[in-house]
Amino acid sequence: MEIRFPFEGVEVAYSRNVVKPSFPILSRPFLEIGEREFYLDVRNVAQYTSANGEEVHIIPYEGADVSSIQLFLTGSVFGSILHQRCLLPFHGSSFEYKGKGIVICGTAGAGKSSVTASFCQNGGRFINDDITPIKVSDSGMTIVPIKSRIKLWDDALLKLKIENENFEKIRPTLNKFYLPLQDTSTIEQQLNHVFILSIHNKDGFVVNELCGMAKHNALRNQIYRKMYLEGMPEAEKSYFKQLFQIAKTIRVTQITRPSICNINDVMDCIKKEIDR
């Protein structure tokens, strides 16, 4: 299987030797980060390095499968490339709905991908899964489409009544699949509304639209792999300004959903807020 990278202009190559960052600011046994350099060790899968927002080297572990190498390349490693380019990545999935650019943020397991898939079954147009880069310029904020696919667990496919027609597994050991979608957006879309999805063990939804500094801080917490910024002070500074601009322009709504609930109920709750 050929390795794919979600972004143009990045050279990806297999390598035999690990060249770690020369001047790491953040250093951990499995991770080293400098302003323009990055190293990550995903044990049993591969060691990855990236630099200057334009090159990635992969040093696979013996016996590692290509799907797993691909998964972390398009996740944590891709995140490092975006940070090196100061292209603000949110930890969220995105779609266009009724002409509006929507991002659903949240931690792993919050339901970002399921809700996005649900919208795409009901008039939404898929843009990105899990990582959504935002371009901030004088003319506005846009969602940058990357070449990603929605990843869904087997039970989410069932809930969405999607028949699993031999969908590709994201890793051989996991029952999580790439969902093939026909209608995906390949052009930049204006960003209008960010939802921050979380879970509680109660019945019912809690909805809270944010304003002021709470909005800025909540958006900052949605930065994909925010911890990388401990080793990238210049990128952090750039994001600080970008987030102010974003917070001035868009709506941000926190939604806490029951841990056990119907995906369509979450979608309906979000729809109401989009229309409000």
Partner: protein, 286 residues
């Protein structure tokens, strides 16, 4: 720096009750602290901490791969609070285990000590069935299962290896890396001042009976039940009626059949005897 204190238990053994006591003791105010403040001792299997500090989605890793990173996760958490000079309290349900690198999940060099809460497995069984909204027979099977683990599927918390009840307790009791204080739930209920006092002394606090009594009143089981009824509790499973259910010693007598009791006792006999749940004549003491 040894600044992490592990609050260890098999589920439903008094850990959360102690965390509420601790939150009240540390805050030392007249009014009881709310159930939300239990976050002063968050769980070690928090998946958000893992993703935030390790930079990988734990649900896209196998449990074995997650365990590679867990010692580093706790080292980072320890480092992050090093400058404050404060102790980090971490609840854990994990058995004391090594990852496949042969490294303990809970590194010795950051571990000040551990308090291990144990409870009669017969009562644990009934309480766990209520907590997980499951049948008693499933709960019995779970307590006897050597491969038993919690969570780690697609969402929620990291996978926690439990073992059977007896081997969970044994794993902490027999390890020699971290000083451990074993506390029986029944002693916490029957003799609270002496028992909670011994825990606080073990944890390095000076004995302060007034403060201890105040924290005990503010974390009284009935009060916790009332607080849960009024405002809910985030650690309750959605389908479970209440987290703070009965807390009664010997509650199993009203719920377990003779056969269920026999299965649990036979499998766990030596550890139950060791912890005083079975006397010299072989009778159940609780």
């Amino acid at each position: 720096m040894k600044n992490t204190l592990w609050l260890v238990s098999y589920p439903k053994s008094g850990n959360t009750w102690f965390r509420m006591f601790l939150a009240n003791y540390l805050k030392n105010i007249t009014e009881p602290v709310s159930l939300d403040e239990i976050e002063s001792a968050p769980i070690s299997s928090n998946a958000v901490d893992f993703e935030d500090l390790i930079g990988l989605n734990p649900f896209e890793l196998t449990a074995e791969e997650v365990n590679f990173y867990r010692p580093d996760l706790y080292r980072i958490l320890s480092q992050n609070t090093e400058n404050t000079g404060e102790i980090t309290y971490k609840k854990t349900h994990d058995a004391y285990t090594l990852n496949s690198n042969g490294e303990p999940l809970f590194p010795e060099e950051i571990s000040k000590s551990a308090v291990c809460f144990v409870r009669n497995p017969l009562d644990v069984c009934v309480s766990y069935a209520n907590h997980s909204a499951d049948k008693i027979d499933s709960s019995v099977d779970f307590l006897l299962k050597e491969e038993a683990h919690l969570a780690g599927n697609k969402t929620g918390q990291l996978c926690q290896q439990l073992f059977s009840w007896k081997n969970h307790v044994a794993s902490w009791k027999e390890q020699i890396q971290i000083p451990v204080h074993i506390i029986r739930y029944e002693d916490m209920r029957l003799n609270p001042i002496a028992t909670f006092g011994s825990i606080m002394t073990f944890m390095g606090f000076e004995y302060d009976e007034e403060r201890l009594k105040k924290a005990l009143i503010n974390s009284d089981f009935k009060l916790l039940q009332q607080m849960e009824r009024e405002k809910g509790f985030r650690e309750k499973v959605q389908n479970c009626k209440s987290f703070f259910w009965k807390g009664k010693i010997g509650n199993y007598r009203e719920h377990l059949s003779e056969e269920q009791i026999q299965r649990i006792v036979e499998y766990n006999y030596d550890m139950m005897r060791n912890l005083g749940y079975i006397d010299e004549q072989g009778n159940l003491t609780v």
